[in-house]
Point group: C2
Chain length 114, copies 2
Amino acid sequence: MKAEAQALKGHLDVLLLATLRDGPRHGYAIKETLRDGSGGRFDLPTGTIYPALHRLERAGLITGTWSTVDGRRRRSYRLTTKGQRHLASERGNWRQFAAAVTALLEPTPWPATP
Amino acid sequence: MKAEAQALKGHLDVLLLATLRDGPRHGYAIKETLRDGSGGRFDLPTGTIYPALHRLERAGLITGTWSTVDGRRRRSYRLTTKGQRHLASERGNWRQFAAAVTALLEPTPWPATP
DNA sequence: TCCGATAGCTAGGATTACTACCTATGCACT
DNA sequence: AGTGCATAGGTAGTAATCCTAGCTATCGGA
């Protein structure tokens, strides 16, 4: 398994929710938003995306509706109210997590906190 | 399982290596360094620490040596050359990962990039 | 006609952090 | 003397989740 793989653990859900911030999207579009929004870094296989979306839907954070566009079945997902709240709180959580990791990795004792 | 738990996945190894940056430490001291260095955020159980250290040793990133201090057995770990290289590259990796996640989470289109 | 992009899906494997438990020493308090 | 806590090490088994590998299907272009 790639090293990159494990790094996402626990953060994928927030990222998926974030892609729905500006309106509903279907799975494949979410995948592309994630890829493009990360500069190609998070180019996840559909085998990662779809199960994760089902998980989020089961958790009541997103809801999906079927539609057909050009003969292609699409399932559009949007954030529920619960999902919006969750996104907001997880965003704060990420900031703290990232700050803690960074602090441990780069112990630059600030060049003088005035 | 706690949400916090999954968040660490894939990042624990780097954090453990980082605690050895300034010299050898034994497992319990590593646990404390992690706890204190993260403001109490990463207060990991020994059942997480020790297996992870064994994993890192198997991978050749750290080496441990037994000693006895005050009747207590201690296993002191230090970074190998390979481990130092790994830490350096993973630190860069973390920066990029964190930047990508942050970019996706907070789409603040900078207030004007001059 | 075949291939790639789009669009959706599942089963099973691999990894990893956790819970829960165990042993043992030294010290402080009762 | 006995109890509990911090220190110090460890294991077995479980849960979570992301991946690989595979599947179906439509549409447009080479």
